[in-house]
Symmetry: C2
Subunit: 130 residues, 2 copies
Amino acid sequence: MEDNIIKEKEVKPRNRDNFLIKQRAFVKLYLLSWIEQGRPYGKEMLEDFYKTFKQFNYKPNHSEVYKGLHELLDDGIITRSRIIKEGSKRQELKVYQIANMDEARRYKNQVKEDLDRSIGLLNWAVRDNF
Amino acid sequence: MEDNIIKEKEVKPRNRDNFLIKQRAFVKLYLLSWIEQGRPYGKEMLEDFYKTFKQFNYKPNHSEVYKGLHELLDDGIITRSRIIKEGSKRQELKVYQIANMDEARRYKNQVKEDLDRSIGLLNWAVRDNF
DNA sequence: GGATGAACAGTTTGTTCATCG
DNA sequence: CGATGAACAAACTGTTCATCC
């Protein structure tokens, strides 16, 4: 106990539940649904985003998708395994499966609430201003 | 032209029109509508936000409101004047008026488009994932 | 203390660089 | 070059500090 200097965490946490749903949560919601449905890998899901949202001018970048996948992994909601891409070049891919179905469902429901809240907020603004 | 070193701007601009509408635009939309309707001042509009969005758990902070007002001023869409608050303490307030009605309308329509796009995006996610 | 304004700081997310086959 | 991952940096916005009645 000599002159140990205890460095306290000095980060002040911020107000969170504020304006609209965050992109990360939105992306993770789609990732979960797609993983439930089959065994797509990261790049493929990125392109699914492009297709799905072309009409809305929304194009998430690859980092956002990978960060979403990593968070779901860290939270134990999905697991990952390696496979060799069919076809030719012994390209390695990472594919995903749901690890904890209850957690997955819980997370999706939570995102659903934030989605509904956000939609309500935006519709309210249309009603109030137009 | 001796050894003048010309410092070039090295900031790389980013892709903008991406995910959802930004809080700043959302706030400015309400500010414009309220200013059109009367002569409210900053603090009062902040409290109007609290009342309007209590049900959505959304509570913008005062800086966001003032920054929105300053941007509208800088863009010449509104003007500002000083008045003494009725009642007592010779408290000074800043009140606002529309300066350029065409620009105001143009801005609101632009925000409307982004609102609609955002609502579409979120509804799409509900449809796809639930 | 009420209102306004500005500096500062934490978070989110887009861009760039690195690695591996 | 295709896929993945991580470091870095810009943009956004929440918190704190300053000022003026």
